[in-house]
């Protein structure tokens, strides 16, 4: 299995291509390396409100200001080192009611615990469609390496994602670099707090000017109230002109096991 998994990681890396639009403000999350266990399903609701964003319609794309994004994410564990996730993106704002935005699918593999690597490593690839009124680039692909590590009360995660547009104005732009970073500190067993950083620097090897880059930093709280539940919320500021300036995010997740719990399992 080790050789097969390494091959998947290598091929996926070689195939990485540019996408102009990342997950936008539909799913604002730095991934950890863990995958959903086999026989389990994770259901998440991502609610993101752009309190201060783009106010004008630009080239037929709706303004982001006061958009409420609701994203449903369903992730199914396949085995102890892989999962597949499916997204339904929606948006609601004055004058546009609740609108379907698009869907993505996201297979992911990780280095199994039994390899005893000193850090968590996984690789996600995501492909999907979104309507042009919400993103001029309608078909996009993302490859996202995921590295994380817990040290005492500290948790570190890095997602140096590469994106490519398959269909849309940015199709000729090649690979874009859109990293995400999370640092958190365990205040106690149930509460962790820390910053999350999201960016889109533009084309790999020829980054956009700072003015045109997307840079966001969130202050986030994770509540670890139960192994069955995931709760994450925070507020983020956009630091550049190309970034929405204030976003509030909330993630509520519930894990389901479809097997009847057995004490002899």
């Amino acid at each position: 299995m080790r050789a097969w998994l390494l091959t998947v990681l290598a091929v996926a890396g070689l195939c990485a291509v540019r996408s102009a639009m990342a997950q936008g403000n539909y799913e604002i999350q730095v991934y950890g390396s863990d995958t959903v266990p086999r026989g389990n399903t994770m259901l998440e609701l991502h609610s993101n409100f752009t309190a201060k964003g783009q106010r004008y319609t630009v080239q037929g794309v709706y303004p982001t200001n006061h958009q409420q994004h609701e994203t449903i994410e369903i992730t199914q564990g396949l085995n102890d080192w892989s999962e597949v996730g499916f997204y339904i993106f929606t948006s609601e704002q004055d004058g546009h009611a609740l609108q379907w935005v698009g869907d993505h699918i996201r297979p992911r593999v990780r280095v199994p615990d039994s390899w005893h690597w000193p850090i968590g490593v996984s690789l996600s690839t995501e492909v999907g469609y979104q309507r042009a009124v919400y993103s001029p680039d309608t078909w996009t692909w993302e490859i996202r390496p995921i590295l994380d590590k817990s040290v005492g009360r500290w948790y570190f995660a890095v997602n140096p994602a590469l994106e490519r547009t398959w269909h849309g104005p940015d199709v000729g732009q090649g690979l874009g670099f859109a990293p995400g970073v999370k640092v958190s500190y365990d205040v106690n067993r149930a509460v962790s707090i820390g910053p999350e950083y999201y960016a889109d620097y533009g084309r790999l090897g020829r980054f956009d000017s700072l003015h045109n880059q997307q840079q966001q930093i969130f202050l986030v709280t994770d509540l670890n109230v139960s192994p069955k539940w995931e709760i994450n919320f925070g507020a983020g500021l956009g630091a550049t002109a190309a970034t929405d300036h204030l976003i509030v995010k909330f993630i509520l997740g519930r894990r389901f096991s479809w097997k009847k719990p057995s004490e002899v399992e």
Binding site: D113, S150, R153, W154, D186, V264, E265
Partner: protein, 487 residues
């Protein structure tokens, strides 16, 4: 004191001898005596550093006073759990488990221990009532055995029954050391009236290997294992245990796992439990499966009345799939080993107790409440463990009066079960989870369930420092210990 050996008379019939240079005797002796007489509390790292001086003791080679009954050599060895699962570890006499030591109750025996590793080591004689100088816990004052050193123990073992010996060092985050290694072996103390009502006898050790730390249900890092074995072999890769129809086969089963509770069953058969932790139970009775917490032992015979080829293994599927099992093969049978999956886990200490569970054993029993809890140190760390709010070496040191009866009331306020082990004494189970009372079950290790209370009683009959600790290696490393001393 002949032949360069340092001999310490500890009590009648007990002597420990360490090889040494003749001109270094006074200094070394002084160091050791300080451990024997002062109830100073050391943490495990401090003790290892302090006893670095003892390293010199072992560098002089072994010159025994007499021919030992057994020689136990601590050295690197390889465990081939299966052709695809080979573990490089440390064991006794190049084998895992170590050699079976059969001693006679009341007869003085000599065991020579040679440390051929590059680390300080120590051997604990688990379940025996030995003086602290040789019991095998540095917290009680037993000297560490330096790399290259040899030590010779003279002991008059008691009580009779199924005991074991194992390392008692610190592992921390190195999940290859201490009890995570292969340093464990069987020790059987034969009584003068050994009944021997069986046709065959087998000693089995359950162990887990290749541990690594992962996030646990309690939110902290806990060990998980790749490999589980019976006598160092994964299911299907050891020699079958060959039996004959009509035989009564006695199994002595030890859980030597560093951290894991195990449940075992023999497909198609029933265990008849006669002893727990080597001590005969008040009410021998049948059990479909056995539960063994780390350090616990069960002695049970099985009537071989169901011919075929069967699996004796872990009841939980994922652990049996990791290798914990052995094949039981009847003479004349050659089928594929069969397993019958139980639907539930069932084990109750109380079924082996007497009917008069409420009867008082002593007119006065002094109760010592012990609150077991942990302090969260982060999702990326192991928890810090405490007894009555303090971690070793800062834990209280209760004072025992010889001859007095004590009740240890464990109040487990943590999210984990804990196998609590008292050195140098045997205790009696009195109250189990849910307030169920019992008596007549004598043990040295008891599993205290998460969120529950358990009470045990013992008579203070063996003066000297006595260590109480959780037998999970990761918990004792993180402070889950305390020492009793006698007034």
């Amino acid at each position: 004191m002949e032949n360069g050996l340092l001999g310490l008379e500890v009590s009648d019939g007990v002597q420990v001898s360490v090889a040494r240079e003749p001109d270094q005797l006074p200094h070394r002796c002084l160091i050791r005596r300080s451990f024997l007489t002062q109830p100073r509390r050391w943490n495990r790292r401090e003790f290892m550093m302090a006893t670095g001086a003892a390293a010199c003791l072992g560098a002089m080679g072994s010159r025994a006073q007499e021919t030992p009954d057994y020689i136990v050599t601590i050295d690197a060895c390889t465990v081939e759990a299966s052709p695809k699962h080979v573990v490089r570890t440390v064991g006794y006499n190049g084998q895992v488990p170590g050699p079976l030591l059969r001693l006679r109750e009341g007869r003085t025996s000599t065991i020579r221990v040679v440390n051929r590793t590059r680390s300080e080591e120590i051997v604990h004689w688990h379940g025996l009532h030995l003086p602290p100088a040789i019991d095998g816990a540095m917290e009680e004052g037993t000297p560490m055995l330096a790399p290259g050193a040899t030590v010779q123990f003279q002991m008059t073992p008691q009580p009779a029954g199924f005991r074991w010996y194992h390392t008692h060092t610190f592992a921390g985050n190195d999940l290859r050391k201490a009890q995570y290694s292969g340093q464990h072996g069987f020790l059987y103390v034969e009584s003068a009236n050994e009944p021997g009502k069986y046709d065959a006898e087998h000693f089995l050790a359950l162990h887990d290997w290749n541990g690594y730390l992962t996030g646990g249900d309690d939110g902290s890092m806990n060990p998980t294992y790749d490999i589980s074995t019976v006598n160092g072999r994964m299911l299907g890769y050891g020699e079958p245990i060959r039996v004959k129809q009509g035989q009564r086969v006695l199994f002595h089963i030890l859980n030597s796992s560093p951290t894991e509770v195990h449940w075992v069953a023999l497909a198609g058969h029933t265990f008849h439990v006669i002893a727990l932790d080597g001590n005969p139970v008040a009410t021998p009775s049948s059990a479909a499966m056995l539960r063994l917490a780390p350090a616990e032992r069960v002695s049970a015979w099985v009537e071989m009345n169901h011919p075929g080829v069967w699996v004796l293994g872990e009841v939980r599927k994922h652990i049996q799939a990791s290798g914990m099992g052995a094949v039981i093969e009847y003479a004349g049978s050659s089928k594929k080993p069969a397993w019958l999956q139980p639907a539930a886990l069932a084990w109750d200490y109380a079924q082996f107790g007497t009917a008069d569970a409420d009867a008082a054993i002593a007119s006065y029993v002094e109760e010592i409440p012990l609150i077991l809890e942990s302090r969260f140190k982060g999702h990326g760390a192991q928890e810090r463990w405490m007894i009555n709010g303090k971690s070793y070496p800062d834990t209280d040191m209760p004072v025992l009066v010889q001859g007095r009866r004590y009740r240890l009331r464990f109040q487990n306020k943590s999210m984990d079960d804990h196998p609590m082990h008292l050195h140098r004494h045997t205790f009696e189970l009195r109250e189990l989870a849910g307030g169920k009372r019992t008596r007549g079950v004598m043990k040295d290790t008891v599993l205290v369930p998460a969120g529950a209370e358990t009470a045990v009683e013992f008579t203070a009959s063996n003066p000297g420092l006595s260590l109480l600790h959780c037998h999970q290696q990761n918990h004792m490393d993180m402070g889950f210990m305390m020492v009793f001393r006698y007034a």
